[in-house]
Amino acid sequence: MKKIEAVIKPFKLDDVKEALTGIGVIGMTVSEVRGFGRQKGHTELYRGGEYTVDFLPKIKVEVVVPDNLVSKVVDVVAGAAKTGNIGDGKIFVHPIETAVRIRTGERDEAAL
């Protein structure tokens, strides 16, 4: 099994979710993160002060899938999250050694 971890633009979450469910992946875990990279930040003004913000809001999507689905999932996520503009984000693939479904104790691919 692998974990596909994608850091995407927040408003793309819906598209990615639909794309994943579209290929039958019905489990995922997402969280709010801040990204720093090539994408330029913005400026904020508060009274006398001027602040440059270079961490931007991103969403991290984590989805664990059997090995045979990995490249398909990567492609589908990449496709759905793409705007073509800088800051679209990254996909990383991690090895996973075991998976357990807490409710049933099922293991590995049966647990997904």
């Binding site: 927040p10 819906d14 997402v30 709010e32 800088i86």
Partner: protein
């Protein structure tokens, strides 16, 4: 999680019928507003309305409304967990709506209408029949309806105070019926006993300038009954249950302080010496109690908390109303300081006894209200209010007797009334939400809402219903990055 629409419809229809009938009853009367002979007898040739007094009483009425919403709504709302924030705020808000209608339809008549044997007002004033714009029996210089609407605001805040005791676990539909029943069977009679012309406690000579027994003892003791009957929140004592938004709570406390000037100084019904005196002692008692609570906690726990200071201010505001027309500023400092100390310790006690009065209504209103009623018997002086009475320290120990009778009577009526109403509702509608709804929170389970959506992304929320269908036909807009 779905509340049966059937029973809800029944509830809605029930209220509709209730309203329509009371409206109907009062209608003809109002269309021909010449006072009925009975009412006319009660209201002799109208004295002149004073614009200053009226301005003050209307201002005060608005201030007391503000106490309930947003004052109390925020004070309580900030103290619960985020999953119940909105439901808690809603309880104060919707009581404002419910009692505003109940009072006009029948509440005012029961509380202040022509006396029946000292225990209740008659139904002569139902739907405000005969309650007009000339001065009424309770005031010479302001329209009768101004007095009525000022009293309405008291009838609103009292049940709202109780909600703190059963916060985070009660069914919304049951809560609504409880509120109406409690207002009708506990508040309205008690208000009559103390303030209604002919009410037995008032006749007895008990002093309650602005609602120590009627508002604070009654809500505090009903809170105790409710906490006992409703039972503890799931996880109480095991899980952390702490306030989710204290800035809102402090803002609410400050609004309560502000509004309380209307509560106490408005009770003078005129804008003059008495109102001024009540205003000053209100402020001093609140201040002194905030310090009293804070220093008690600081000395006993090592830290002065902000919630403690805010709670202390409220405790002082709770203790001063009965005496606010009868005591000196220096007496109010003592009344406040003692209230802060007592109520702080009462709240600590709760955790030892083990009942779950979520937001400490018993510790603050029950204890503070009782102390206030006693303190009035101690500190009252006719030097402040020639129409008042002297208390123990001004040489009249007998006043304490009247105060104690009033306290006991309020305790008994409030406790028994609340227990009976809740037991009946428990057996019929059910008091508490199902366990999984309590875990999910009342905001979602009772109202299908979330208090906050502070994060950017919608987290997979998708619109549904006819609207979404209609929109699907529309081209999806392209959103640049």
């Amino acid at each position: 999680m779905v509340i049966a629409r059937g029973s809800t419809l029944t509830l809605a229809v029930f209220f509709f019928v209730l309203f329509v009938s009371a409206v109907g009853l009062g209608w003809a009367q109002q269309q021909a507003p010449a006072p009925s002979p009975a009412a006319a007898a009660q209201a002799p040739p109208a004295p002149k309305i004073d614009s200053g007094d009226t301005a003050w009483l209307l201002t005060s009425s608005a201030l007391v409304l503000l106490m309930t919403a947003p004052g109390l709504a925020l004070f309580y709302g900030g103290m619960v967990r985020p999953k119940n924030a909105l439901a808690t705020i809603m309880q104060s808000f919707i009581i404002l709506a419910l009692i505003s209608v109940q009072w006009v339809l029948w509440g005012y008549s029961l509380a202040f209408g022509p006396d029946k044997g000292g225990v209740i007002g008659g139904l002569e004033w139902i739907g405000l029949r005969g309650v007009g714009l000339d001065p009424g029996p309770y005031s010479d210089t302001v329209p009768h309806q101004a007095f009525m609407v000022f009293q309405l605001m008291f009838a609103v805040i009292t049940p709202a105070l109780i909600t703190g005791a059963f916060a985070e676990r009660v069914k919304f539909s049951t809560f609504i019926v409880f509120t109406l029943a409690w207002a009708t069977f506990v508040y309205d009679p008690l208000a009559h006993w103390v303030w209604g012309k002919g009410g037995w406690l008032g006749s007895l000579g008990a002093l309650d300038f602005a609602g120590g027994t009627v508002v604070h003892i009654s809500s505090g003791v009903s809170a105790l009954a409710a906490a006992l009957v409703v039972g503890r929140r799931k996880g109480y004592g095991h899980e952390p249950i702490r306030p989710h938004n204290l800035p809102l709570t402090v803002a609410g406390a400050a609004l309560l302080w502000f509004g309380w000037f209307g509560f106490n100084a408005g009770s003078a019904l005129t804008a003059g010496k008495l109102a001024t005196s009540a205003f000053v002692v209100t402020n001093t008692a609140a201040a002194s109690a905030a310090l009293g609570w804070m220093f008690s906690e600081w000395a006993m726990r090592g830290k002065p908390t902000v919630l403690g200071a805010a709670s202390g201010a409220v405790a002082g505001l709770v203790a001063i109303p009965p005496g606010s027309g009868y005591v000196t500023p220096l007496a109010s400092i003592i009344i406040g300081a003692v209230a802060g100390f007592l109520c702080y310790n009462a709240c600590n006690l709760k955790t030892k006894v083990g009942y779950d009065d979520s937001l400490d209504v018993v510790g603050v209103h029950g204890v503070g209200g009782t102390w206030g009623a006693l303190a009035t018997g101690l500190f009252a002086t006719t030097a402040i209010n020639p129409d008042g009475k002297n208390g123990l320290f001004a040489g009249e120990p007998s006043q304490m007797g009247a105060q104690i009778i009033a306290i006991l009577a309020s305790w008994v009526l409030a406790f028994l009334g609340t227990v009976i109403i809740l037991k009946i509702l428990d057996a019929t509608m059910g008091l508490r939400v199902p366990d999984e709804d309590e875990v999910a929170g009342l905001d979602l389970s009772q109202h299908s809402e979330n208090a906050y959506a502070l994060e950017g992304p919608g987290y997979g929320i998708t619109s549904g219903g006819a609207f979404a269908e209609a929109m699907k036909a529309q081209p999806k807009p392209t959103v640049p990055a």
